[in-house]
């Protein structure tokens, strides 16, 4: 089954390799440039000495250069789109194409029973996707490391590119597409249905992290001595006074600013919650697909 | 090598067609004693027919004493049927010509003659079975 799986997914594997090369090239180039500026601006020393309190201007200018604007937007969209579309493209034909083209009658009448065929294939392809996800995540993490020291990792780019999210989102799209392919016996239809499902799930995840913030969040009350300023949540240095905190919202309450924020050290908790949701859906979809294939008599 | 023909639409079972072709070729002299017939595999592949059909035809020919041979060693013509004795043939030809003249005088058409021959042959066969 190893050779068969490889041969059937060979093109997809090559595309993934190409993506790694492209993303890797960009990440290495941009990351190197970022590190150069980071060091040139004297930020490492400043952070070591005062945790960022001593060089707010340098930090702000650094963030402005590398985080705001076109550069981050370019990479942000692919980071969300790639796992989705790649997962669909790999998952929908896995069963969908066999059923649509009738090659299932060939594949499942050799000597390998269909359940073993599917589990072997899923194991290998999932492993390949995980490897791809881990490599991309590693590249993104390395690239973004300097910024991570001065901004919150709950920002879209680092959040979707580091930790579990990229791989989990990829596996989720994959799992849902495999199941859709089995049920609909059709590649395009499976891609459409799976895309809708994955979109809904992604929307839910975003809501959870955003307005709903189901996630572990903390609240801080800041007294304002001379009238409370209209503080924006989007300021480079979080009003909580700690680099890396992600501020959700600031409201005025009497002579206090009530700040709700995600503490920097909650990054992984959030990753496990949101990434975990994706993974649960992925595993459930794949499990259901195997179960249905096993029970089905046609 | 002797090549066979098969007519799928003739209504005659394939194995009988094979037997007839051998008999006919023997009468015409195209097959002679010692000639080898194709193997079962060769014939099945050549004509795209069931090998058992070939086996049946060869068995029939062997039963009629026309062929012989051991399995795995091929099938050979062992005896050509004797052509009918010239005397018998000649007298039969004469009586047949006389019969046709009588039928023509009685007003029988060609088709009526053919039908009559078929009926008589059928009755004779029945007599033989029953």
């Amino acid at each position: 089954m190893t050779w068969v799986t490889w041969r059937q997914h060979r093109t997809q594997a090559i595309v993934c390799l190409a993506l790694v090369c492209v993303i890797g090239a960009y990440a290495i180039a941009a990351g190197t440039r970022m590190r150069a500026t980071f060091n040139a601006d004297g930020l490492p020393a400043c952070l070591a000495r005062s945790g960022g309190a001593g060089c707010p201007a340098a930090i702000t200018s650094f963030i402005d250069e590398f985080s705001r604007g076109g550069v981050s937007a370019i990479i942000n969209l692919p980071l969300i789109a790639i796992p989705g579309f790649l997962g669909l493209a790999v998952g929908a034909p896995l069963l969908g194409q066999e059923l649509e083209r009738g090659t299932w009658a060939l594949a499942w009448s050799q000597t390998v029973p269909r359940t073993r065929w599917l589990t072997a294939k899923l194991g290998l392809v999932t492993g390949g996707l995980v490897l791809f996800g881990v490599v991309i995540t590693a590249l993104m993490t390395w690239y973004h490391a300097p910024l991570d020291r001065v901004t919150s990792r709950a920002e879209p780019l680092p959040f979707n590119g580091e930790g579990l999210m990229f791989t989990a989102s990829l596996l989720c799209a994959f799992g849902v597409a495999v199941l859709a392919g089995l049920l609909l016996r059709n590649i395009i239809g499976a891609m459409v249905v799976a895309y809708v499902a994955w979109d809904v799930l992604t929307g839910l995840v975003l809501l959870m992290g955003g307005p709903l913030h189901v996630v572990p969040s903390a609240t801080m009350r800041l007294p304002c001595a001379n009238g409370c300023p209209d503080a924006a949540t989007g300021s480079a240095l979080p009003v909580t006074g700690h680099l890396g905190d992600f501020v959700y919202g600031i409201t005025r309450s009497g002579h206090e600013l009530v700040v709700s924020y995600l503490p920097a050290n909650q990054f992984w908790t959030l990753q496990f919650i949101q990434g975990g949701l994706y993974l649960v859906v992925a595993l459930a979809s794949l499990g259901i697909a195997v179960w249905i294939l096993n029970r089905r008599t046609t | 090598m002797f090549r066979f023909q098969l007519d799928g639409s003739s209504g005659v079972p394939p194995y009988l067609q094979l037997v007839h072709q051998v008999r006919q070729s023997l009468l015409l002299g195209y097959l002679r004693t010692g000639d080898q017939l194709p193997t079962v595999k060769e014939l099945a592949e050549d004509l795209a027919i069931n090998p058992n059909t070939v086996v049946k035809a060869y068995r029939q020919l062997e039963h009629e004493g026309l062929t012989g041979g051991r399995p795995g060693q091929g099938t050979f013509i062992v005896a050509a049927p004797e052509p009918p004795l010239p005397d018998a043939s000649e007298s039969l030809r004469a009586s047949l010509a006389e019969w046709f003249r009588a039928a023509e005088e009685a007003g029988l058409s060609d088709e009526a003659v053919t039908a009559l021959i078929a009926v008589v042959r059928h009755d004779m066969r029945k007599e033989r079975i029953g």
């Binding site: 089954m1 190893t2 050779w3 068969v4 041969r7 059937q8 083209r101 009738g102 090659t103 009658a105 060939l106 594949a107 499942w108 009448s109 050799q110 000597t111 390998v112 029973p113 269909r114 359940t115 008599t297 046609t298 | 098969l6 799928g8 639409s9 209504g11 079972p13 394939p14 079962v40 595999k41 099945a44 592949e45 050549d46 004509l47 795209a48 027919i49 069931n50 090998p51 058992n52 059909t53 086996v55 049946k56 059928h122 079975i129 029953g130």
Partner: protein, 306 residues
């Protein structure tokens, strides 16, 4: 060639239900090893259902089907290894090369005769590196057949193998199947709805219609057991020997295809009656057109014959 004794394929009250409809019901027959079986029936008669049950792609709803004594169980490797299956429209992976397809066969089967596969391609003039989608329909069918033969299973099942092929490709294909059958003592099942092609190919016949078994048995025995009777119009069915399978009435005479032995024929014969042998086509057509035996008419039918 038929080997005495061994039964290659035995169906025992085999049935398959899809939702509310029965695709196949109450199917019983036994095929001797080494036979070449013709499975005939109109589209939707249950041929593909019967074949997929045999191969192990489908599980029966009732009854069972056994290949060389072992019941076919869906998806059991033992079942899958015993049968080579060539599905309708000979599915292949179009992006693969011929060599890739053989690699696939080797990976997915316990037994695989790579030498046979390559030798056949060589004989047919099909390069191993060519992509499947670049081959003609006839060549693709040959590749699919090669894969089935290289699996070296004792039972070969072909589902309408030549339906989409031109006449020359058809002939070449069936030549190869016949040649392979002789070479390896294979038992072959060929499903088709084209009756005329099957006469020269099969020595065992299974006729399906409406999901029911209409007729099954060795061709020679079946042809010997049926006759075409020409009788006066006034003779009723009950006055005819054996079972009347089909009857055509003209003004003064009727022609009836009956299932009757020579003994029964001899007893029943009257002057003016005529008995002729039945051809393969006539036999199959008569049984195809006969209303399928259902539980309703089974009793009525047996009352007539007894």
């Amino acid at each position: 060639m038929t080997h005495d004794g061994a039964v290659a394929l035995r169906a025992d009250r085999l049935g398959k239900r899809y939702g509310q409809t029965w695709g196949l019901r109450d199917c019983t027959f036994a095929v001797p090893a080494g036979s070449i079986v013709g499975l005939v029936g109109p589209n939707g008669a249950g041929k593909t259902t019967l074949l997929t049950l045999t191969v192990g792609l489908l599980a029966p709803t009732e009854g069972q089907i056994a290949v060389f004594g072992e019941p076919s169980r869906a998806r059991a490797p033992a079942t899958l290894a015993r049968v080579s299956y060539l599905a309708q429209d000979h599915p292949l992976y179009r992006g693969f090369s011929v060599a890739d397809m053989f690699h696939f066969g080797r990976s997915m089967n316990q037994r695989w005769d790579q030498a046979l596969a390559e030798q056949r391609m060589d004989a047919l003039g099909i390069p191993l590196q060519r992509k499947i989608k670049a081959l003609s329909g006839g060549q693709q069918a040959q590749v699919a057949l090669t894969m089935a033969l290289a699996k070296r299973a004792p039972l070969l099942v072909l589902d309408e193998p030549v339906a989409s092929l031109d006449p020359i490709a058809r002939l070449d294909f069936m030549r190869d199947v016949m040649g392979a059958a002789v070479g390896s003592g294979l038992t072959v099942v060929i499903a088709s709805h084209v009756i005329s092609e099957l006469e020269r190919l099969c020595d065992y016949l299974v006729v399906l219609a409406g999901g029911r078994l209409q007729l099954a048995g060795p061709v020679d025995d079946l042809l010997a057991a049926h006759h075409l009777l020409t009788v006066p119009r006034s003779v009723p069915d009950t006055g005819l020997p054996g079972t009347v399978i089909s009857r055509t009435d003209s003004d003064r005479h009727s022609t009836a295809l009956v299932a009757a032995g020579l003994g029964q024929l001899a007893e029943a014969e009257r002057p003016g009656w005529r008995a002729d042998p039945v051809s393969f086509d006539q036999l199959v057509l008569a049984y195809l057109q006969r209303p399928p035996v259902t539980d309703h008419n089974r009793l009525a039918r047996s009352a007539v014959t007894s």
